[in-house]
Symmetry: D3
Subunit: 274 residues, 6 copies
């Protein structure tokens, strides 16, 4: 490596603001999840005081992460941390409703404990709930890091900016994409490979609602793609597998598409993608 | 955080049974894989005794994991561990047949060593083989943790309850889902995005066969979805890409679907999803 | 475990050549990325000398990895390492062009910094750039390990043998597969679930071009599959979502397919998969 | 090992109260010393907030240690921790006076920085200051662990119960023993191998003053032994090397002893042990 | 560094037999001590099975250490390990008698727990008991490593070859040296700086008894030196501080020496070194 | 802790120059010793290249340590490192002569290997050799840190400034002190508790020779103290135990002192401190 290039890299390094390491952020999230849901990763505490100290460390971790955040401007990390911890009961309640929804929706699940311990959908939705709460406080980068950690671990990509109501269920999940300005109602269930995306990739639209609205009690089967900020899926609708939707449907609609299936015996069939 | 909420979290923590940490379980699996297939992650042993000691540690790790399993009831972790280690030659033989099938099926693979070292399909199928053997011994949660580790690392989601015969090949694999009551014969090959799923999400059906049967020598191309516990794909059949099947097909059937493809030059084509 | 089996495993272990551990390879890649793009994971250096020493450690790491490579034959790891580090300015320039393309193509991206820090597409393409440069020097296994690390972390599977020009953009990315003999021009953009694959799985074709050619300024939407070594997508073409292509299209072509969409109100629609 | 013995050991283990691990206690002490005297082991803090967070962790560490202390009874670890941290300015001032005294007393010392960084006497006296402050708050075991850590590292054994005024200097130090009820004035200097011990080893005397009193500005040379709770070394006295004292001496006394030294040339000399 | 020297070092390295690392040996000793005396460093075990597994790891550690021992010849590490663990009840009983003796002999000690947790004499004597038991089985180097660990940590240097009966007490201890062929009876108490040494340094005397015999109930005060393989200190004798003995004394003897002590006021005193 | 005090500590921290951490310095020393004498702590190298890389890391470690040295001024750490590594053959040769002398002088030693592996004298003298070589290059603080590491581990305190010729032997060693301006010839042997010290503690004497000169083939027994920069112990002299010397003796002198020893049977003896 030429010395000149080494110098250039050094200059780039020096001008780069310090920032919280992704692994510190991920550790904070996983430790927090273990406090809210001990089933996730059980820690042994010999006394209430030991537990209280553990939560104290968690607070310090969040403050450290916030303090290293280059975009934080003049925000007071003390009060940001306080505010986040005050919202924890609400966050916990939402995640608990999601876990229950995932248990109810999967015959293979033996208990809510199993959902908390091993379901990628649980991990990803809980990460979204935490990331979203931080973003509501004006923090940008840290929620993204939490979301990408969950994306990396589960293949489920939920933007922290999305708005999602309680009792949200994702089954399997690999390949799910939920865009920044999506709105999802309560009791919605989606399967692997579902995309709630945008039609435009114009940077000028960054502030516009670019992703769909999904009303309460909608089910969206695997591989379906729903695009556009004006697209509204009415409550209690069912969107079939592999359906591609760029327009709204009223409540209680079932959408599926039929395709011609042919086999080597010469039989042709029309299939509905459920 | 209010003191009341802290107290509530503490109570939840205290009432939660201890369980083996996911990372301890994953380490056991990866260490075991390295013993069975040194190509996976080569360790240096200066003598047979050193190797024997390493295997001794592996046995202790499994016993520790089994002993921390909250669901184990009265099972004797000594004899469970013995039984698992007695089955290792069979497990190894099955995984070796899978590795060979993956090498045979991918022109880009230079050697079986390369498959063992770097193919996600190898990692996920070997995890299934280990998880399935534990589940056969009546262990539930630990196999799920192994399976979710593989899911997280590879995007391939094979339920430990599935029944899969030898020489199974998964190519690329991201997005593959194989449900709990699937039956897969020998010499089957599947591509990324294939789902072997259920039609019902009724909890009452938990004990029923809800996922399909795939007979020997079947090939299923990328993105195909096969659903339902009564669906049987006959031996030597080929299921084309993106096909959506909810009924059985006899042996030696080729199933594909045709779709109209249009380009901006006004040409329309019928395509077969291979 | 029978003693006989233990002996057999020991023999397999002893006959297995040592090789660089996957985690050492992944650490090298991530440390290198942090040097080239401090935004990725900022390290603090109190002086130029401290930075220079860090780069010195990085060189030693690469030499160690190359020295443990069982396939290296007689290659001189000193000069291989030198050669790789001399190419770093070019590698960095290419990755910078990719980061810019990803920023330009995503309205949700607030800055190139955010892309570097948290976009899986950035991680996977940068891994490809590094892996490809090593493969150009005749190294085979190590590039595969880097690629599988990125695959595991991002769900994006780019073979190090592929040829990809500058300003390459992958959005979301889960499920992307780019085969060994693909050629991709400059300013190409692809979405999640896109496959550039082969038609043949005959081992005899290992040396043949089996994957498609994508010319400059092509956009390929989510879930599209393009197969075959003779397939050429002409410059400035747009391939719609879920399109399945096994033949070439001329420049400036838009390819999409229409499907019949039916809802429960009895309405049928023809949809274009964009 | 017989099962019976294993059972016995288990019972002993279960009946043993948990206690802070010696390494956690030692880490607390060393981290605290680094905060009070950055020369000891310099840490990099990018901002005041980062430093404040580090001190916050230090507080939590002390609370954790106090909370695990089996002897603590009903003491409130919050207020104990507060009280200790409020005393830190005084503790720091005392240790600074000791460091200055050690620099002034050793021609080989180039700077106070060198004393802080590498003098065992500094390490041991600072450990005493911290341990003594904790003992003043009624904590018993933790000060002993700090003292034994310093003893192990430096060979200097100062009981946390001793009373030592400012500007205390220990040179080299290996073998120094300072008993629990010793009183040492200001500006005292002692060399390696000095013992301030007791005459009685009767457990009934545990609450009695069993160790000597050393008044201000006394110097005690290497290997001297001073014993007994009623023994007072008057201010400005000098106790020569290897002197053995069990009675008091008035201020400004020089005590040495003469011994006959004979060499192989037949010369005999009377030597004074300075 | 010249290449020639590098080559020479490499050759030396390759011809050096592998051996257990000192830290692995020290960890084994400290873990064992924690099992025998949980007060030393309390570990939490949630069940008897967890404890049993911990002891299982300890056995494996010893076997690993023994297997790496270059001098072991053909010894069977299985049976060596078994034999050592069978002797543990006796070893524990001896160490418990030592702890009790140290508590009885020090007014400053509040409990046997405090002795176990923080007394260097306890650590060093326990290390001797373990090292001696291994040496009795014909192991040479590993006991030396345990002994040097204790020497480094406590300043107490007891050769594993020494023979020491029960209820042995060392107070403070820095500088104590106990030679390879010493014999020490029951209920002996020694203070810091005591040497039980040899008169000859002739390698030809390696197999001869070169160090003294100390009979039951002897007390030896600080700094006393007793030399020679024929020197026997009769039972119930008291050896005063700094006494230098190279001949035997009968039982119930008190040995001390008187020295002239002079102070600056012109007073001369005869002192007895107790 | 008051905010004001926290601010003060922060200011002290910020004004403190960064410096190499003591543990990094100690690790460098121990790794180097393992390279020079694999018996010390054997590492496994599968090839010459692996060994060469290890030495490469060692060079980088030294450069890192030198680069962090606050006192280094404008020195070029590249050339300092080169110079030190060029001197390694000489350093190794000196340490090998010391190891041989320690083996020859101790009947309990079974092999030079045992000396290297477990003798504190070997550790401390080797540390001195390395520290002295660095000090010869003008480095001050780092040699002190190496020396204090050895002091802490062995109780042997050799100032890096001392001048010591080959084949130096220290037996047991706890409590040995060798001052900054001592000169020690070849084939000298000293026992535990020996001090080579200064008479003056006047800071004005810092640049003066303050410590004694010991000529070739001198033996100094345990506890002897030799003081003063003008004191010369002539070649082949023997200094008895506990002797206190502040004047020179000619070559071939034996110095010992006699003391009156009295026992409880009324016998008085004159003893010679050998």
């Amino acid at each position: 490596m030429e010395n000149e290039f080494l110098n250039e890299l050094y200059k780039i390094n020096q001008s780069c603001p310090s920032c919280p390491s992704p692994s510190a952020v991920a550790d904070f999230y996983e430790d927090l999840l273990g406090v809210l849901f001990p089933d996730f990763e059980k820690k042994e505490f010999s006394s209430f005081e030991a537990f209280e100290l553990h939560v104290g460390h968690l607070r310090l971790s969040l403050r450290e992460i916030l303090a290293r955040n280059p975009e934080r401007g003049n925000s007071d990390t003390h009060s940001q941390t306080d505010r986040f911890f005050e919202e924890l009961p609400i966050i916990r309640d939402l995640i608990a409703s999601d876990a229950q929804a995932m248990f109810d929706g999967d015959p293979a699940a033996r208990s809510v404990t199993e959902v908390v311990r091993s379901y990628p959908g649980f991990y990803a939705i809980a990460a979204y709930r935490v990331a979203h709460a931080l973003r509501q406080m004006g923090v940008q980068l840290i929620p993204r890091i939490i979301a990408e950690r969950a994306h990396s671990k589960t293949g489920i990509d939920i933007h922290p900016g999305a708005t999602i109501d309680r009792s949200f269920c994702i089954d399997h999940g690999t390949g799910v994409v939920i865009g920044e300005t999506s709105h999802i109602g309560a009791h919605v269930k989606i399967y692997q490979g579902v995309t709630l995306g945008g039609l435009s990739v114009d940077k000028a639209d960054a502030e516009v609602k670019r992703h769909p609205t999904i009303e309460d009690h909608v089910v969206i089967y695997a591989g379906a793609t729903i695009l556009g900020g004006q697209t509204v899926i009415g409550a209690h609708s069912v969107i079939g597998g592999n359906v591609w939707l760029t327009r709204s449907v009223p409540p209680h609609t079932k959408v599926y598409y039929k395709a011609a299936l042919t086999d080597s015996n010469g039989n042709t069939d029309t299939i509905e993608f459920k």
